[in-house]
Amino acid sequence: MSANYLFFGIIAFYLIGAASAIILNKKDRLCSYASFLIAALAALLGIIFSILVIFGDTFSYELSSGSYLKFGFFVDKLSAFFILVISISVFAVSIYSTGYVREYFGKKNIGYLGFLYNIFIISMILVASADNAVMFLIVWELMSVVSYFLVVYEHEKPETRKAGFIYIVMTHIGTGFIMMSFLVFIGTSASFSFGTFAEAGKTMTPLLKDIAFIFALIGFGTKAGIVPMHIWLPYAHPEAPSNVSALMSGVMIKIAIFMLIRVFFDFLGASQAWWGYVVLTLGTISAILGILYAVVESDIKRMLAFSSIENIGIILIGIGASMIFFASGKPVLASIAAIAALYHLLNHSIFKGLLFMGAGSILYSTHTKNIEDLGGLIKKMPKSAILILIGVLSIAALPPFSGFISEWLTFQSLLLGFNLNETFPMIILFISAAVLALTGALAAFCFLKFFGIGFLALPRSQHAEHAKEANTPMLIGMGIFASLSILLGILPFYVLPVLARIAASFTGNLDSFTFASFATFLIPSSMISLSTPAILAIIIIFMLILSVILFLINGKKQPVYETWGCGQPVSTSRNEYTATAFSKPVQVWFKNLYRPARETEATYSTSPYLKESFKFESKIEQVIERYLYEPVVDFVITRSRKLLIIRTGSIHTYLGYIFGTLVILFMFVIAGGSS
């Protein structure tokens, strides 16, 4: 009963937030505080609610049951986990937003932003808790549409409009596939309620199951940003306001993962092993392609968007492995893999949110997203720098930060594939492990570039020169996430049991891990154990000892001098290594993928030996967009142009059409009227 009040309390709070945003939209500051802080409050309620459900029993509530449109809510452990993820992110992001939107004061309509922001969150929560197909599709599309309006919030910029258009069309196509997948179930169950889908999934013929699987994979994959349906993501996420991109990248694309798990495990029973292979392969491809494009990207928000594709890939690797294990009757391993996926999902939602907020604060204080114009920010905005560094270390999966745990778990669950005793799946799993390793290394490369070029050394432009520290609410918001990603790194033994409960709700196995002293957790039957607290402790001890030693041997004197440049003074930012140069090796390594196009242009003064200026431009090609989507679009456009000729404008032709139709229909009748 209390759950009811709580759930509708959450919704109500967000609605109040939205309403207050509209009411107060004349007074910018007040409006921002009202809408976002109320949202934060609602998020707290959401956290409580989801924890209640995770440790308590399933929450379900039927609304307006008489009507043709049924609205019902169904929150089991899985959806509760996602509501938890949503709420955590929303809490931090909302606090951050109160500071971030100050940039828009006077320029844009804050009420509009706050309103959409709250509605967006509501729609996500409803998606996670919808219990029938029609309602799901409604709230799902509501989520897409609202996020579209958030993306085009700065619609004066043409590229923003383009991004928004690509986004909404892609997501609409995705929704179309979701519809078809649902309709396959409906065709069997003759009911819209998700409850009946599970039975339908049991009784369906294998062919129908496969169709439903493929449609669902494409449909939700589009939202999740799985390669090759990912193309909207690097457009939409950078253009949205940073707090929104934090939510979109951190949470919204995870909702698609939630539905994938729902459909594959709960509805379809994950019965086919090859589904697992497909998911695993797609995940692997997404991971590697995502990070490869992220490495060479110099727009920080685009880079983060690509890295979201990568992380979705890693999550899918876990899910795919889990499906494989489940289909081949190894629930224990299935739950371990699932836990790895869920853990990474949680981590990613946090450190990616953190990094997007960080990008936001960089944008806020330097007004540029181009990493080549940054530099030296660690001195201008030290606090943000530390917080962002934490995010970078987590996403680079370095111990003892949060990303490390989930990637370690993913590796282990892939390694555990040797229990399958079948050649093919083992090889698939191990190959994807190798690719995952490459991905991890490239991620480290990518974010080293991000932090090193962006924050260290000297400012590369006026933007960076005059950067100032982000304001307090932004720092608080990022701080929450930073501390969370440390905690998730060093306290896995608190998180894992919870995730085990959730994974058990669809893999049906609870005892995946055993726990030992020194905050260690082991994977039974294979001696493997990990204890990040211990590692952290040792590292810290060593650092202390070392710094003490260094201090003892005359640590005071430290002559300061210019940077070494073969005798030449290099204290100007022009001599610094650029981001492009930094990622050049990778670009050369994978030039077949990038197909880089470079333009150099030199102007000479007097003698051909003295260059006056030198312009270097290098861009890379989005292979999938270029060779998969553009042809389709061109095809449609050209075909349409051809079709336009039927509109001659002459009334005689039109009468001719009618005559022709009449004749054809007569033939039809004489033929007997059976097409």
């Binding site: 307006s64 449109l69 065709g187 449609v636 009618i658 009748v669």
Partner: protein, 484 residues
């Protein structure tokens, strides 16, 4: 009851003719349409309480389906008369038209409403007369501005729809013949009820022939491809409120005729024949709408083609058949009427402000006219069938009917087409609504009247997207019973 309903618009029209000032004509027209609305609603209630009403030795007749049409017509005509005051007022203020033409406009407007109400409540053979009358009256409305374009449009409209209608008459005669063979030379051979009762015994060959003629005839009026050619011209050249009436209600009246005969013909020819025809025509209309929506340069034509698309969807729904299919189609009629009129109203405001129908010459509406811009976006999403708006519900119902009845390929094509249409439509719409406004466009809405009428429709569009009242559902189920 029915008589009063029919008389009100006529009297209003005549009164409008004898008014002296703008105030008077506006008040009278508002009063008239309000009374029409009230009478219409009361008729609807009456029918749903006490069943079929028949008067005037069976000439006038109202069952659930007629009442449904009356409902749509009276609602749309009411809001559109409210809108007309704002729209025409603006044109008078800017000396586009003078008082005489304004009076003429309202006279014709109410006559037009009368003819469409007549379509709803007349009995079998009268239907043809009524629909022909709608053509003639609306033709006069289309040449309202009597410039080159409007004259051309009107001529095409009259000629093409009259030809179509002539075919429809032939179909009607054939049906009558089939009926006479069973019933003998009695007036009963004209009644929907008696026709339905004995439809099973009709000669299937004749009925096939009749249905073909009916489909082409009323299909021309409904704008099913490839007989839709008059539609974009007429919509884009007529005054915007009239465009709303044409697209919101007139096409529905024509569909009404098709569906009436569908239910008779199906009984004798068996479902396969009629369903196939309807599915083919539906898909063709959808498919032809796609390129014209993607590459459209004129936003009123854009709406016109989207009407073609939606007529196709209704035809598909009926063609898919089954309770879901018919239900979806009937529901879609209502949703489409509401949403499309809403769209027409908002682009009407845009037209008044920008004075051009070219999409590329319009941008940044959300900044110059926030409310209109917002409504334009809502309407655009609604008309392209994205949740949470009414049309999504009906389209999804039709889609699931397709899957349940096993028309998988047709359904998939349907989905493909509406996705492409969504892309094209939204591409054009976002060009208009977003971005920086064009220079020389004065900010601010057109008038309170226009906003009021739009607000009424927005309520319908959104409410029906998330919640359909139980009574309304029962109403539609009654209609479905009539059809099946």
């Amino acid at each position: 009851m029915i008589e009063y309903l029919l008389l009100t618009p006529i009297i209003t029209g005549i009164l409008c003719y004898f008014t002296r000032s703008r105030k008077q004509v506006e008040t009278i027209s508002i009063l008239g349409s309000t009374i029409t609305l009230i009478l219409g609603l009361s008729l609807v209630l009456d029918v749903y309480r006490n069943g079929i009403i028949v008067t005037w030795q069976n000439a006038l007749f109202a069952d659930a389906f007629s009442a449904y049409i009356v409902l749509i017509v009276s609602i749309i005509s009411f809001v559109s008369s409210v809108y007309s005051i704002g729209y025409m007022g603006y044109e008078i203020d800017h000396n586009v038209i003078d008082l005489k033409r304004l009076k003429m406009y309202f006279v014709l407007f109410h006559f037009f409403v009368f003819t469409m109400l007549l379509v709803g409540v007349t009995n079998n053979l009268g239907l043809w007369i009524a629909i022909e009358m709608t053509t003639l009256v609306s033709a006069l409305l289309i040449i309202f501005y009597s410039n080159k374009a409007s004259v051309e449009a009107a001529w095409k409209y009259v000629i093409i729809s009259t030809v179509g209608i002539t075919f429809a008459l032939f179909g009607t005669i054939l049906t009558y013949y089939a009926a006479v063979k069973i019933l003998g030379e009695t007036g009963d051979a004209l009644n929907w009820t008696s026709l339905i009762a004995v439809a099973g015994q009709f000669d299937p060959m004749i009925m096939k022939l009749a249905f073909i003629f009916i489909l082409i005839g009323y299909g021309t009026k409904a704008g099913l491809a490839p007989m839709h050619t008059w539609l974009p011209d007429a919509y884009s050249e007529s005054p915007t409120p009239v465009g709303a009436l044409l697209s919101g209600t007139l096409v529905n009246c024509a569909m009404y005729g098709i569906i009436r005969f569908y239910s008779i013909a199906t009984k004798s020819t068996g479902p396969e024949f009629t369903s196939n025809l309807l599915i083919i025509f539906g898909l063709m209309s959808l498919g032809i709408a796609v390129p014209f929506i993607i590459l459209q340069e004129d936003y009123k034509r854009l709406l016109a083609y989207s009407s073609v698309e939606h007529m196709g969807i209704i035809a598909l729904g009926v063609g898919f058949g089954g309770v879901y299919g018919i239900f979806g189609a009937i529901l879609h009629m209502f949703n489409h009427a509401m949403t499309k009129s809403l769209m027409f109203f908002s682009v009407g405001n845009v037209l008044l402000k920008h004075g051009t129908k070219e999409i590329d010459k319009v941008s940044g509406i959300v900044k110059t006219m926030p409310v209109t811009g917002a409504i334009l976006l809502i309407g655009g999403l609604a008309i392209t069938g994205s949740p949470p708006f009414g049309i999504f519900i009906s389209e999804f119902t039709i889609l699931s009917a397709g899957f349940l009845q096993g028309h998988i390929i047709a359904s998939v094509l349907f989905l493909l087409f509406i996705i492409m249409i969504f892309a094209g439509f939204f591409y054009n719409l976002s060009k208009m609504t977003f971005g920086n406004p064009k220079p020389g466009v004065t900010p601010g809405e057109v008038s309170r009247w226009t906003l009021a009428s739009m607000m009424i429709l927005v309520v319908f569009v959104i409410i029906l997207g998330v919640y359909i009242p139980q009574d309304f559902i029962e109403m539609i189920h009654k209609v479905v019973k009539v059809v099946m």
